[in-house]
């Protein structure tokens, strides 16, 4: 039995347990964090290579045959998501060494981070719909605790909205799973996909699919259910914000991709049209919300929403090219968005604020930091030759080929407005002079040496290099996305791999 698909869950779980055992020694916890996330990244790359070779890897828990056991399935899309989880996990672990205050580290920051990664990994790999719910909850509980660690007023206010909306979405998800089970009598996703077409009342299947859409839509922060995100993402420590921004909403997007390519493909004309409009409106509201903001992390939070729109657009068009674009977009977005949050953390460290009006003059003192901001920022806006250009190019081209000219136009316009927001940050934070009311710039001009700040720059540089690689050397990445999309368009392959007894 090949355990490769389970390792990306086991490693962070064990690391979390180990960190809890080393509760008193922060140094050990920090060491475990970096080693475990590095190991996670290595294993996930191995997993991706295995899935590219074999197509699907299936592990049946307890060796019970497939529809009766809980299965873990790694296809190329899951493996890609796991690689990104490992990459972001490693970047955040290194960044946290310098950016998370000691008090937070002492109260279990690292164990929670591992638990979050385990939940995310489980959600990406499971092939059982109820198990997906469980991993969602593991991830959510860890994220609740990370969000409130520190206990400041803004965090509490943000957390109440975050917790409520996510619990509502979970209850909706659970009800939908129950109703689906009532109709098909199984929880294995491949088995559901097989049996869902022979349900007596196909209308009910569509109703249940809408419940899944709403539930995952809340988690993915799609229009009109996104408002918990900008209310909470800018409140915790910046490393936590970056981790959430990179991974959490993408789990919702992944779940949408999974169920709306595998299970709910009976009434594509209905469900995917709704997704199409949700995607379009998500793009517009997100980017307009960002245009109205003047706080570094809030601008970035709203841009998460608008970018989610592009990813859902890839799913909604439901053509092979569109899915390639969507998968490519997810890869590009996770790296770039995390990186932008990390840069905002560095400027906060230099000047002690996230408000654009309190920031300035960074370009003059730290030109290399300005460059490090510019790479992900321009990539987000879709400037060639960075990764965002190709991601947007594929999605827009797919929508033109599907004769959705209006949607393509909106996607392009949103790209332009994204550029506007990024230029706003550029002009305010990096280019303009330091405002006169800011008196303490000793860190910025280097009078006060910032010990250990290398740990802030290493992940930023690393992720910027990843962006450049995706942009300049896009062919292998495109092939990855193409293989993933190919598997998504042929759910029969997935069903055969899980139920056909081809497991190892």
């Amino acid at each position: 039995m090949n355990l490769a698909p389970v390792l990306p869950i086991l490693i962070p779980l064990c690391a979390g347990a180990l960190s809890l055992a080393c509760w008193r020694s922060i140094r050990l916890q920090r060491l475990i964090a970096v080693i475990a996330t590095g190991l996670l990244l290595a294993v996930s790359i191995w997993l991706l290579m295995l899935t590219m070779e074999h197509g699907f890897l299936v592990v049946e828990m307890g060796s019970w045959p497939a529809p009766f056991s809980i299965v873990f399935v790694a296809d190329v899309l899951s493996a890609i998501m796991i690689v990104l989880t490992g990459l972001i996990g490693l970047a955040i672990a290194i960044y946290s060494l310098a950016s998370i205050p000691n008090g937070h580290q002492r109260f279990g920051y690292f164990p929670l981070m591992h638990l979050l990664l385990a939940g995310v990994g489980g959600a990406f790999l499971t092939g059982d719909i109820f198990n997906l719910f469980v991993w969602f909850e593991v991830m959510l509980l860890a994220s609740f605790a990370l969000l409130t660690l520190g206990g400041e007023r803004a965090q509490m206010e943000g957390a109440i909205k975050y917790v409520t909306l996510n619990l509502f979405s979970s209850a909706m998800f659970l009800s939908a799973v129950g109703l689906l089970y009532g109709m098909v009598g199984t929880l294995n996703m491949a088995d559901i996909a097989q049996k869902v077409n022979s349900v007596e009342d196909p209308g009910m299947v569509t109703v249940v699919s809408m419940m899944f859409m709403i539930s995952f839509g809340i988690k993915a922060a799609a229009f009109p259910l996104f408002f918990w995100l900008p209310a909470s993402y800018h409140t915790p420590q910046v490393a936590v914000s970056a981790l959430f921004a990179g991974l959490l909403t993408k789990v919702g997007v992944y779940a949408l991709y999974r169920v709306f390519t595998l299970i709910f493909t009976q009434e594509v004309g209905y469900t995917h049209t709704i997704l199409l409009w949700a995607a379009t409106l998500t793009m517009i509201t997100g980017v307009l919300g960002a245009a109205a903001q003047f706080e570094f992390r809030r601008i970035l939070s709203f841009h998460i929403i608008s970018q989610i729109g592009y990813m859902i657009l890839g799913l909604a068009l439901f053509t092979p090219l569109a899915l390639i674009g969507g998968v490519f977009y997810i890869m590009h977005h996770i790296i770039v968005k995390t990186n932008l949050f990390l840069v905002s953390g560095i400027t906060y460290r230099l000047l002690g604020s996230y408000e654009l009006k309190d920031l300035g003059g960074v370009y003059r003192q730290r030109p290399y930091l300005a460059l490090l901001f510019l790479i992900p920022a321009l990539s987000l806006a879709g400037i060639p030759p960075l990764s965002g250009f190709f991601a947007k190019f594929i999605v827009v081209r797919a929508s033109l080929e599907a004769s959705e000219h209006l949607v393509a136009g909106v996607a392009l316009l949103v790209g332009l407005l994204t550029l506007y927001s990024m230029i706003k940050i550029w002009a305010e934070v990096f280019w303009k002079k330091l405002p006169e009311h800011v008196t303490d710039d000793s860190r910025l001009n280097g009078e006060v040496k910032d010990k250990g700040s290398w740990a802030l720059y290493v992940p930023v540089v690393g992720l910027a290099v990843c962006t450049l690689i995706i942009g300049l050397y896009g062919q292998p990445i495109y092939i990855l996305a193409e293989t993933a999309a190919d598997q998504l368009m042929n759910p029969q392959l997935y069903i055969e791999a899980v139920l056909g007894g081809q497991s190892q």
């Binding site: 109820f130 469980v134 909850e137 206010e157 109440i160 209850a171 659970l174």
Partner: protein, 115 residues
């Protein structure tokens, strides 16, 4: 029986959403408790109610004969209850802490991070 349960579940969902729309954070959490119970009950009923037929293989037989209760939904509910319990434990601590920090239980006054 199933019809009656359907009304009960509907009532629970209604009540929970009503409570969640109130301003007080305590009522919000009560709404969440009812919501998770409603979802659990829904799973229980949707999978079919079978009375007095536990899924046990009689002695000497190789497999179950006749209609028996499906044990899986009950396992699901059990899992969901445990998860809901831990989440609610967190939510209770959260509202207490929020009340301490913000000094009010009125959701309308917790809008600092919204705009």
């Amino acid at each position: 029986m199933a019809t009656l349960m359907a009304y009960v579940i509907g009532l629970l969902f209604t009540a929970s959403i009503y409570m969640m729309l109130r301003r007080s954070i305590v009522k919000l959490v009560i709404g969440l408790i009812i919501l998770s119970n409603a979802a659990n009950l829904l799973i229980f009923v949707v999978a079919g109610l079978t009375r007095g037929a536990p899924p046990l293989i009689p002695e000497g037989a190789q497999q179950i004969s006749g209609a028996v209760a499906d044990p899986l939904p009950q396992a699901l509910i059990l899992t969901a209850i445990v998860i809901a319990f831990s989440v609610l434990a967190f939510a209770v601590v959260l509202i207490r802490r929020a009340y301490e920090v913000v000094g009010t239980d009125d959701l309308d006054q917790m809008k600092d991070t919204d705009t």
